[in-house]
Each structure stands twice: as structure tokens, then as C-alpha cells.
């Protein structure tokens, strides 16, 4: 059919093309594909679909190298979420997604709608969401703007998930000046489904109606996808009207209605209208099914009058879904939505002709051949070169950095580290999240991984997000390996066997060789670790252009790990609990201090080699730990991460305020190591275990080839954490450590508490 320009639409000029973020090469490609000049609507469509956010044009070639298979992987990358089988005919769908750019502009709505989007990705698979997680990065809390972003994102995440009634069970928050202008907000959702109820977003069946369901389409968020594909600048401020407002109440109705729809048998496919809204959802569903579709924009329920096809196609209004129903079943679909007070409108159809066509009533306003709109997107493999500056930092001899005089008392150092917002308790955050709704959260936030039971079985899943961006900055490959290993370790500490990951690659502008180098190396490292640990990648999200004129964020490949706890008896907590238990260290201490929180917090230095990640050792450690847990020998397990062994031990005695214990520790076996490395170095593959049966733990460790040693005893009557190293003895009051750890973030946030409360009041519905 002939495509005709709409009266009143702008004429295509080089300036307009540039404004749409297309390069000349990309524009030429478009013209070649169409064999004519595109219409304004077509230009908008391509600008969205070929944006980084939708097309992965700088990352797809790299992502292809990741391991994605295992016998239990039911759905790998490419769908709305990945799915793994967990036995008993049940499966778990999970995915992580970023909302970095929207959150930088409007933290509350940006973060809230991020949660909304990831929930939809999971329930469109036919899975009922059972847990939410997040991974957050902000600049230093010393800045009032950062406090506002932090408070706004946390409130946005909380209000949305709380209202929908999905517990937010775990996450991480890191504060570092590297994220000053570019906060990272990644949200992860996990859902449960019966294997046979898995639903894919593949359009099929000529004549099947295409139905828009959920909220009406407004002018919000137009070009959000391309917005997420450029650096933040003054100009992005001007793009503020693109902000989308979330409505968790409608989402909850949409969730229930969608699950009912999927189970009803009336539909063949369903997909969230996320980034680039209607156009990307319809084009992607068509491409997956390799079918033609036609959409009539006049039939799309609009919130405002006079919306153009361009706007209706590109709007990112929230809480909407696109459904392909069976021929003749549209009325059933409508009836189900009406029960939930939602609307459904037939807006198009699957057609035999291989085209992607958009009409406005009679007029054809856009038409692309076949599915080339999706498949013809250019792919790039830019130059990669490591930054000299970063290499120099990595090669710096950090062991030569002289101790500060205060460090003569390691208790001072320990207290400083516990009070570092990155290490300190995140209770201020997760107290705003409902983590007990749905009565399945056996282990909530506060320790290592969260554990959510699977009703009707003796199983549970263990969940955690992790990444240390400073490591990845200093050495992207090693850092990404560590991100996977740390997440796996956390899951194992809770009693779960690591099964699969989803990931969120948060990087700077890939057109810069230093950034593309980081991306390439990090993906390689992640792949190596996933292969070694047997945790395939089932999906993820790429967020590039996280930079501003002062520089890029640390490369931050966030890992969202799902583990399976085979029996509820295996569920393990992090804190010491019982007087007289032996404390065993699994793994070995080293002299490494490069890239540590210690160097950053105490010396303001970001340098050195990050700790070495020995994947074989990590696997053995996880096996040993899970064996010991299965034998019933482990009372608690906590991994050593930020702040090293001393911080891990301190957390074990006081992470639950009011349930504090003491401990006597003897690390004399390592007295040859520099004290600061022994206490605060971040050597990998280490876990602190408390046990009533040290001999059993040691034997199991030995069997698995894991170094292990009894390093102390839990003391319920003592109020101190005592550490002996050879002739020196360190004694810290547990109460003092607890105050440093638990009060750090609340005290900082008090500084602008009332202003934050006011600034966020407008959003408060909860």
C-alpha cells in the first residue's frame, strides 16, 4: 500500500534526522530499506527501535558470547524474562532492568516506573511476581542533591512495590562519587509459574486480533528510549516532560487481569508496552513470530485529544500491555479486563502480508517490509582501548601507601568502615519496602541473600543482586567475574545452589574506546564466571551512556542471581546466634588490598589490582558450604566482601540490632600478613561460618579442597569483638560497632530530612 505523509507532519530534513539521534549511515540504511524517503512517523519509529535501548546495537555482538544454556533453562535471553525450571513442575521467571536516566531527572517516578516495567516483564510470561530486588548507585551522600535522588528512588521503589503487594526482599546500594551525576537504578523481579503455563511474546496466527489493554495512552515519555540512549546534559533537563507517572494501583489490576487472561486460553501472546511503547512491543512480537501486523492508531484508547500516530506509537505511558488474542476471542478478553475495571481495544491484526504497517484510519502512515525494522538494525563493534589512566591506577603499588596514624588502632579503622554508607546497614532503605507481604519471605533483607519459600514444596529460592563497580573500573574482566562469584557466594550462604543469572550492564558511552573496552572485557569476565559456576545468563538489560560532561560511571555489570534451596532445612542466616559455636573461616586470607573499600574510605585512593578471582576456588567453596549446610553442620554463614574479614565478623555479631553477641577471634595463623590486609583486605572466596560441629565443617571443607580453619568462638555473654593476631590484641565494643553500622545512613539522611519529606510529598500516595 502507498504510504502518504500526514498533513501537518514535519518535512524530513537532515536536522530532523539528527534530532532523532540517527547517524547519516543509519538514515541511509533506512532509506535503502524503504526505497524512499521515510515519513515523519516512520522516522520516529526507527529512531526508537534503533536506539541503543531497544536495539542493543553496541552490545549484542558481545552478549552473544555469554553462556545461556543448562538443562533447566526453559527460556534464555530474547524474551521478556528468562525462565528456569525448579522441579515439581514449577519454574521461576526473572529479569532485571535499568531506569537510570528517568531516575536522574525525576527520582521518584523514574524508580517507581522502573519497578512497574520489570513487574510487567515477569507477569507477561505467565508468572506471578513473588519478589522484587534492586541495585542502586548514587554519588556521595554529602551532597544534598544526592540525598534527594537517593530518598526519591527508595520511596519510588517502595511505594510502587508495596502498593502492588510484591515484597522487595534484597538489593544493594553503593555510594561513590563516580555516580554523582548518573545514579543507577536497576530493578529485578522474580515470578513463579507452572512450567506448562509459560507464555511467550510471539505474535502468530493470521487474522488474530491485536488488543491494547490497561491504561490509556497519553503524551508521556515520548522518546524515552532514545533519551535513555544519550549522555545526560543540560539539554536532558529540557526533556523533562518525557517523565512518566506510574500508577501502581492500575498495575495491580493489570497483573491480576493478565494472569487471568493467560490462564483463560483466549490469547496467544502478551507483551508489556515498555520502552518505545506500542511500536516496540508490536514490532518485537511480530519479529519473533516472523509475521506481518497492521495497527490502526485511531483505535488506540488515548488519554488526550488530538494525539498523532507518531505520539501514540512512541508514548511510554505506563501500565499498558499488548495482547494477541485468538480469532473470535476478543470479547472474552474484554470481559476479563472489564472485571478488573480495565479497558481493552482491538487496534490491529496479524496479517499474512509480510509487512509492519501502521494506519490512521484509512491512511497508511508507516510501512516497513517484513520484520526488517527489527532485524535490519545496524550493529557496531567500535574500537576498544584501555584507558592509560586506569591502567596506571591499577599498576600503582598500593602496598606502599603509608598507614594513617589513627590506624594504629584498628578499631578506629573498623568503625570508620562500618560507618561508610556503602558498608553500613541499609535498614533505612529496606524498612520502607514491604518485605513480608505474601508471607513467603523466610530471610528478608539485612543479611546475605534473601530466601523466599515456594509454597506447596519443601523448596525455596535464594536471591541477590551484586556488583563492585570499583573492581570493574580497575579491571573490568576481573570485576565482572567477581560480581558473579559474589552473588553466587551470597546465595550459597543462604543455603541456595546458584542456578542462573540475569544481568544489567550499566556503562558509559560505548563510542568511546575506553568505555567499549570496559564493556567488552566485563562481558567476557561475566561469561567466564557464569561458565565456571554453572550459572547461565537467561536475560538482562544494557544501559549505556551513563555519563555526563565530567565523565562516565564506573562500569557496573550488576548480577541478579537466583539460587535454589533444595530443602527448607537448608535455609541459613548470616548472623551468629548461639553461645559457644565455633567460628570457621572457609577460604584463605591474602595480602591483597587493591581496589578495597579500605583504600577508598581511609586513604581516598582508588587503585591497585582488585582481589584475584579464582573461579575454581569459588566453585569449591560453594560446594563445601552447601555440603556442610546439607549435613546440618552450619548455624550461620556470611561472606566476606566490602571491608574484608573484620567487617564480616563485625556484621556477624551485630547485624541484628538488639540481638548482639560477642566473639573471640584468633587470626595468629596469618600474623605474617600485613594487619590491614588481614583485617580489611577483600580477598575473594571466603565465608565466615558459625557451627556447633567444627570438625564436620572442617572435614567437609577438606573433602572439597577448600582451606578451612577454626578462628574463634561465639560469646553470648561478652560485649566485645576480640581479635588476637600473634601478640597483638584488638578489642572492640560491639555496641560501638553497632552504632557506627546502624546509625550511619539515618544520621546522614537526617541532615535534610524535612526537605526530603516535602520534596517527596507530592508523590506520596501510600
Amino acid at each position: 500500500m502507498t504510504v502518504t505523509a500526514r498533513p501537518g507532519d514535519p518535512v524530513i530534513t537532515p536536522a530532523l534526522v539528527a534530532e532523532h539521534g540517527l547517524t547519516t549511515g543509519e538514515y541511509d540504511r533506512l532509506v535503502a530499506m524503504l526505497d524512499r524517503t521515510p515519513t515523519f512517523t516512520e522516522l520516529g519509529i526507527v529512531s526508537a527501535l534503533w536506539s541503543e535501548h531497544c536495539s542493543y546495537k553496541h552490545s549484542r555482538p558481545l552478549l552473544k558470547t555469554l553462556p545461556t544454556k543448562a538443562p533447566y533453562v526453559l527460556q534464555g535471553p530474547g524474551e521478556n524474562a528468562g525462565v528456569i525450571a525448579i522441579g515439581d513442575g514449577l519454574a521461576v521467571a526473572f529479569k532485571i532492568e535499568s531506569h537510570n536516566h528517568p531516575s536522574a531527572v525525576e527520582p521518584y517516578q523514574g524508580a517507581a516506573t522502573g519497578v512497574g516495567g520489570i513487574l510487567r516483564d515477569v507477569f507477561t510470561m505467565g508468572a506471578r511476581p513473588i519478589a522484587l530486588l534492586n541495585s542502586l548507585r548514587f554519588g556521595s551522600l554529602d551532597s544534598a542533591r544526592v540525598r534527594y535522588l537517593f530518598a526519591g528512588c527508595v520511596k519510588g521503589i517502595g511505594d510502587y512495590g508495596n502498593c502492588v503487594g510484591i515484597p522487595t526482599v534484597a538489593g544493594e546500594v553503593v555510594f561513590d562519587p563516580a555516580y554523582e551525576g548518573n545514579p543507577l537504578v536497576n530493578a529485578m523481579c522474580v515470578g513463579l509459574l507452572k512450567e506448562e503455563e509459560l507464555m511467550l511474546a510471539v505474535a502468530q496466527g493470521v487474522g488474530n486480533p491485536i488488543i491494547a489493554v490497561g491504561a490509556r495512552t497519553g503524551r508521556d515519555g515520548i522518546h524515552g528510549a532514545s533519551f535513555a540512549s544519550e549522555d545526560l546534559s543540560e539539554a536532558s533537563e529540557a526533556k523533562r516532560p518525557r517523565v512518566q507517572v506510574g500508577d501502581p494501583f492500575t498495575e495491580k489490576l493489570l497483573l491480576e487481569a493478565s494472569l487471568e487472561l493467560i490462564h483463560s486460553g483466549h490469547i496467544v501472546a502478551i507483551q508489556d508496552m515498555g520502552a518505545a511503547g506500542l511500536v516496540s512491543s508490536s514490532a518485537e512480537m511480530a519479529a519473533r513470530g516472523d509475521v506481518g501486523v497492521v495497527i490502526d492508531t485511531l483505535k488506540v484508547p488515548a488519554r488526550e485529544e488530538g494525539m498523532t500516530p507518531y505520539e501514540l506509537l512512541l508514548s511510554e505511558s505506563q501500565e499498558r500491555m499488548l495482547v494477541v488474542a485468538k480469532v473470535g476471542h476478543a470479547d472474552h478478553v474484554r470481559a476479563i479486563l472489564e472485571k478488573w475495571d480495565l479497558t481493552a481495544a482491538v487496534i490491529g491484526e496479524v496479517i499474512a502480508e509480510p509487512v509492519y504497517r501502521v494506519t490512521e484510519g484509512e491512511r497508511v502512515v508507516a510501512e516497513f517490509p517484513g520484520i526488517r525494522l527489527v532485524t535490519d538494525c545496524p550493529m557496531y563493534e567500535p574500537d576498544a582501548r584501555e584507558s592509560d589512566d586506569i591502567r596506571t591506577r591499577r599498576e600503582q603499588d598500593v602496598d606502599a601507601i603509608a598507614e594513617r596514624k589513627e590506624e594504629a588502632d584498628p578499631v578506629w579503622t573498623l568503625t570508620e568502615l562500618l560507618g561508610s554508607p556503602t558498608i553500613a546497614s541499609k535498614r533505612w532503605v529496606f524498612q520502607q519496602y514491604d518485605h513480608t507481604v505474601r508471607t513467603s519471605t523466610v530471610v528478608g533483607p539485612g543479611g546475605d541473600a534473601a530466601v523466599v519459600r515456594i509454597r506447596g514444596t519443601d523448596k525455596a529460592i535464594a536471591l541477590k543482586t551484586d556488583c563492585n563497580g570499583r573492581y570493574t573500573y580497575l579491571d573490568p574482566r576481573e570485576g565482572a567475574r567477581i560480581a558473579v562469584a559474589e552473588a553466587a557466594r551470597n546465595v550459597a550462604c543462604a543455603g541456595g545452589r546458584p542456578k542462573a543469572i540475569t544481568n544489567n550492564l550499566n556503562f558509559g558511552n560505548p563510542k568511546r574506546p575506553e568505555v567499549y573496552f570496559q564493556l567488552r572485557e566485563a562481558v567476557a569476565g561475566m561469561g567466564e564466571a557464569c561458565l565456571a559456576l554453572g550459572t547461565p545468563v537467561t536475560g538482562g538489560n544494557v544501559s549505556l551512556y551513563n555519563e555526563n560532561p565530567t565523565g562516565a560511571v564506573y562500569p557496573t555489570p550488576v548480577v541478579g542471581m537466583v539460587g535454589l534451596v533444595e530443602s527448607l532445612r537448608h535455609i541459613t542466616r548470616s548472623a551468629f546466634s548461639t553461645d559457644g559455636d565455633a567460628i570457621v573461616l572457609l577460604g584463605n586470607n591474602t595480602s591483597e588490598i587493591g581496589g578495597s573499600e579500605y583504600l577508598q574510605r581511609i586513604h581516598d585512593v582508588v587503585a591497585g589490582h582488585p582481589p584475584r578471582c579464582d573461579l575454581e576456588a569459588e566453585c569449591a567453596l560453594i560446594d563445601a558450604l552447601l555440603d556442610a549446610i546439607a549435613e546440618g553442620a552450619v548455624r550461620s554463614a556470611h561472606d566476606c566482601a566490602d571491608g574484608g574479614l573484620a567487617v564480616a565478623l563485625a556484621e556477624c555479631v551485630m547485624m541484628e540490632r538488639g540481638q548482639q553477641l560477642g566473639a573471640d577471634i584468633d587470626l595468629s595463623a596469618w600474623s605474617s600478613l600485613p594487619t590491614r590486609a588481614l583485617l580489611f583486605g577483600e580477598a575473594q572466596a571466603r565465608v565466615v561460618v558459625s557451627t556447633p560441629d567444627a570438625a564436620a565443617v572442617l572435614a567437609t571443607a577438606r573433602r572439597n579442597g577448600v582451606p578451612a580453619a577454626v578462628i574463634g568462638t561465639v560469646r553470648s555473654t561478652s560485649e566485645s569483638l576480640n581479635i588476637t593476631i600473634g601478640t597483638s590484641r584488638i578489642s572492640a565494643k560491639v555496641g560501638t560497632l553497632a552504632n557506627a553500622y546502624h546509625d550511619a545512613i539515618p544520621n546522614i539522611m537526617l541532615r535534610s530530612a524535612s526537605q526530603l519529606d516535602v520534596a517527596l510529598a507530592s508523590n506520596a500516595v501510600a
Binding site: C163, F249, Q432, D434, V437, G658
Partner: protein
Amino acid sequence: MKFGIITFPGSNCDYDAYRAVVEAIGQEAVYLWHKDHDLQGSEVIVLPGGFSYGDYLRAGAIARFSPIMREVVAHAGRGAPVVAICNGFQIACEAGLLPGALLRNESLKFVCAPIGLRVENTSTLFTNGYHENQVITLPIAHGDGRYSADDETLDRLEGEGQVAFRYVPNRNRPGDSCNPNGSMRDIAGIVNEGGNVLGMMPHPERAVDPLLGAPDGLPLFESILHRVHA
């Protein structure tokens, strides 16, 4: 005994209440849709937690007009038991089943935490399974839990033994502020004059399984069973 669990658009603790009734005390439960006009013979009605109608305008304000609420009010009027938890408490106040109102937490923040409570009156339909002055721990999860009423109402509630639960310091966390929302006179839960309608902000239905922590909500459900069967 049959429990009817009301589901409003936006309810999200209906499932937990259902599980608690069926699994923890082995009774029958049915979900009742907000547009229904029939309690299906339920003896005990549960108004569950959540965000009915998104809590837009005021928590509970819109839900109170749901068709089913007419039946619930009539049920309560007949002296039959109604348990209103969290958002249910807010709805019950809006509907006039209980006096007072629940306002935004004084901290202006949502709070999810285990909280210490003292059972103030063990003679009610809902609390007879606890012992005098028993201190229990239940989860809370709300943003609008600040119970407020005029002094006269508060005096009457206290005088008539209608205060069922009060926030107290948690044994395990000395020094922690005990009242999580700034409610007047530390009130966490009340019963109506007839003693057959309970409203409370904490979630007893989330505390019935030892796997998830102290099952301190269980005696509440058992109390209803004892009394109604007695």
C-alpha cells in the same frame, strides 16, 4: 468455621489472610469480590490489608463504598465478627464500623518492621487466646497508621477496654522508639463497642507460621475459634 475474605481492587493481603485461615487454623475460607452482594454464609469477615483503590484520596476512603461493604456493615451490626487489618482497619474506620481515623505516619515514611505490642484486653473475642499483658511481636507494613480520634473517643475506648493492642518497646531492641507511626496513646488496635469488630495496623496473618518467625498472630485466629465455638 467459614471465613470470608474481601478482595477490593488493590487488596494485596487477601492471599495471606486466606492462607492463615486455611493452613494455620484449618478452617474454610472464601474470597469475596468487592462487587458481590452476598457473604456466602461466612461467619467471620476479614477486611485484609493492601492498597484498595491505590489508597488514592485517603486510605480506605473509596473502598468503603464498594457494594460488599453494605453486607459487611450489616454483618457487623448483627454482632458477627469482623477482623480489619491494616488497610482493612482504614476501611473500617472510613465506613464507621470503628471510631477514629488513620492518618499518614508521623515520620511521613512507610515502615515495614517487626513491632512489639502489648495485649491490652484479653477478654475480647479476638484476644482471649493471649495472656494478660502479654507482649508479642507482629510485622507492620504501612504508611498511614497513625490512629487519631478526639479525646472523648480515646477516653471512652480506654475506659471501656476497647483498646486491644498497644505499641510497646520491643524487648529485643531497647531504646528503639516503640510507636512506629505516632498513633495517639500508642494505639495499635481497637475493638468496637460491641466487641465484634477488631481493627489493627499490625499483621497477625503474617505471623502464623514458625518458619517466618514468632507465630504471635496465631492466638488471634484461635481466639475467634474458641469463642465462637464456645
